[in-house]
Symmetry: C2
DNA sequence: TTGATATATGTCAAATATGACATATATTTG
DNA sequence: CAAATATATGTCATATTTGACATATATCAA
């Protein structure tokens, strides 16, 4: 894992043991975090492809702009459930959503 | 949606409006719930393919047998995060996991 | 630049998920 | 069959996630 990715994860509030242990992410922890980051990227791409603002999306899912921003930033405080719901709210099919995670 | 699926969802504690509205699931609600159910099934298949008990899996993820049972039952009280983490803890790759959801 | 619009970041009370536990019910094994 | 093992179901105190809000920082057009 390069230092840019490390910084990105730390900045997003991920706490996977101490910073000292950071480079020793177990494979399963790493796979989970990376899938979540892929999901956040997919959500942002999808929203932009629909030419919607974060406020627009927030309204559709009855949430707030700040939470949408956190989803797209891959913040540790948001669940994948909310991200998947958001993508479906943007009209994506399951095939489309899953396809964006491969 | 057939009556068997309706019963299955209700039994799992899903509350998507009243029972009366049940057949009027919005497409995005339906897509989310069905993806989650697919995930619960995938997790169970994966665990069984490794010949592990729910207790075995619970230990690996530092959870409890009852929570594993709920995950596999597609209970509304468990997050997809925990399910994905579980699958990775079972040694599945991202490609494998995502592939089971197509 | 300035103003308008979009996104990011931090905080909090309320809502929801969590592991743990007890215990019920299947399922398997002898 | 009975005992052993596995899974299901319900509850609870604690932990985490939530929408909402304030406010900071971009981004862009006039």
């Amino acid at each position: 894992m390069n230092s840019a990715k490390k910084k990105r994860l730390e900045a997003n509030g991920w706490r996977v043991g101490s910073t000292a242990e950071f480079l020793n992410l177990s494979p399963e922890e790493a796979a989970y975090i990376e899938l979540k980051l892929a999901l956040s990227k997919a959500l942002q791409d999808l929203r932009k492809s629909k030419n919607l603002t974060q406020v627009d999306l927030a309204k559709r899912i009855k949430s707030s702009q700040s939470r949408v921003a956190k989803m797209e930033a891959g913040d540790a405080s948001v669940t994948m459930d909310l991200m998947f719901r958001s993508m479906f709210a943007l009209g994506a099919s399951r095939k489309k959503v899953v396809g964006m995670l491969v």
